[in-house]
Amino acid sequence: MIVFPRQRRGVADPLPASNYLRASELTPWICAAGAYFAFPEYLALGGQILIMVLFALSLDLVLGYAGIVTLGHAAFFGTGAYVAGILAVHGWSEPLSALLAAAAAAGLLGVITGAIVLRTSGLTLLMVTLVVTQLLQEGANKLGWLTGGADGLQGIVIAPLLGAFRFDLFGRTAYLYSLAILFLAWVVARLIVHSPFGRSLIGIRENATRMQAIGSPVFQRRLRIYAISAALAGIAGALLTQTTQFVALQVLSFELSGTVLVMLILGGVGRLYGAFIGAPLYMIAQDQLARDDPVYWLFWIGLLLVLVVMFARGGILGIVDRLWTGTGR
């Protein structure tokens, strides 16, 4: 493993320079395992939180590390969700292989659309990601015979996990299943981020022209991370299908792309752990606040976004970082 020197200009490197696991990196897993025992009545929500964490994590790879500002990440989430759902409706009820199929489909879509998206930049890039998602949603809406259209895809039956664990009514299996998959995805994401490939992505984000000049194949690397991220998002979508046994048209919506972006930003972008903070905070706050008053909810989210951009770039983890360095570490 290549070890890079720490940055010198007094700014803490956002990533640990070495690949050693720090103890604090295990906190999310301890919390997630603890939540399983502490809040047995909230496991259904917990499972969805884990899925959104995975989705936000996949977005962090393209947005935070490769610096690709996309408004259409729901395209991959939705593709994964629909692939898993359609397979299950047609008798492919084994969950793990369906998860792989969903990942492959979303990854393939990532390669195809990435080849288009990554040739553009700025507003055009934003528009292309947006339009691809709209196109898919419109397609899913109109292909009612396959996708259930606006009514959603119903009649999904999922076989017991590994042939032994049924998906129960309380969401226990769903929670642990999502947790296990999220853990595997985190291991993969962490390996990628700390690999030379991951480091070169940061270089591309900071200065693509210079990376090109020193011989880094910029387009290929961006395409590769785009496809990997798409596959992870597809897995998240498939997990949602399998654990809720329903697919709504909203999995391909602009709103979902926006929501996951907001979650990631609130947590902190480009830090691998922003997803683990932003998604649970957003989902729990939404569960508690939006139930009473969904109108105010969006207002506060909007205000929070404006404030984060104006005063706290880097999100919650950024604030924590600044407090940490401010207290003389």
Partner: protein
């Protein structure tokens, strides 16, 4: 006259064509009025503004409430809505937008999405979740006869007044000093600055004019694009499509794009409703792949 003697099926087809062209044109006018300001401000400042629809929504709300509740006549309501929104947008630009010129794309995207959320929630709080019904004055209801065919009066007026506004705008951009300064700044901001053009002031003015036009578009088009709290979010994609297909910073590009999209969308909904907006998105994708800078955008 020839068209009177056409056979029935042909006349029906002609009717459909005329109808599509008419409603498409009305739709295109609204889309253009709303989007042109977005094109200019994005071209001038390179600012990715996803919240432009908010100004159109605000214009619609203000004008329709003035008409429905206070009984203000249509033209006065339009003028007030335009002025109020332009003034408010100036404050917003000075207080918030100006801080983010030159900031990272992501920050601009997030900031403007935040504004969209807040505006939607505020609109829902003040006016409720349902679309605002438009009560037109009597002289604009009903239909008028043009060349032997009947057309809805209001939409005919909409097309004519839209065309008048567009012509004024083009003349203003081409013939006035302010217009020349805008063109110069879009072309080369640094050069314009060194020639003594106060670009910060120009940005604010252009922003206000663009927002005022959007308010006008939102208010005039309230019976085509219904005014409800999700307005800014729901129609955002279409406004962005028009700007990016037309070309950033261009005045005429968005007009062509609005015409193409307005008429094509109307035709698709009329002729092949089972596909919905599918073809619009596919066409946008194709155009952006062919010319990433838009039809009338300059190559970077």
């Amino acid at each position: 006259m020839l068209w009177l003697r056409l056979s029935r099926p042909m006349d029906a087809a002609l009717s459909a064509l005329v109808s599509i062209a008419f409603h498409g044109l009305a739709y295109a006018m609204v889309l253009y009025l709303i989007s042109v300001g977005l094109s200019v401000t994005m071209g001038l400042m390179g600012f990715i503004n996803l919240a432009h629809g908010v100004f159109a929504m605000a214009g619609g709300y203000v004008a329709v409430s003035l008409m429905n509740r206070a009984g203000v006549p249509l033209v006065a309501a339009l003028a007030i809505a335009c002025a109020v929104v332009a003034a408010a947008s100036m404050v917003l630009e000075r207080a918030l937008y100006a801080r983010l010129y030159g900031a990272a794309e992501l920050d601009q995207v997030l900031f403007t999405i935040g504004l969209v959320f807040m505006a939607g929630a505020a609109a829902k709080f003040i006016w409720g979740p349902l679309p605002l019904p438009v009560r037109l004055p009597d002289y604009l209801r009903g239909q008028i006869e043009i060349a032997g065919r009947l057309f809805p009066t209001y939409r005919s007026v909409l097309i004519v007044s839209g065309a008048a506004i567009v012509t004024t705008l083009w003349l203003a951009i081409e013939r006035t000093r302010f217009g020349a300064q805008i063109r110069a700044t879009v072309d080369n901001r640094r050069m314009a600055q060194s020639l003594g053009i106060n670009t910060a002031l120009l940005f604010t003015c252009a922003f206000a004019v663009g927002s005022g036009l959007a308010a006008l578009g939102g208010a005039l088009g309230a019976d085509i694009l219904a005014i409800d709290p999700t307005y800014a979010q729901e129609h955002l994609v279409f406004f962005l499509i028009i700007v990016s297909v037309g070309g950033l910073g261009s005045i005429r590009g968005p007009f062509v794009a609005a015409l193409v999209i307005g008429i094509a969308d109307t035709a698709c909904k009329y002729l092949i409703p089972e596909f919905g907006a599918f073809f619009i998105y596919a066409a946008t994708l194709a155009i952006l792949l062919w010319r990433p800078q838009g039809l009338f955008g300059r190559t970077a």
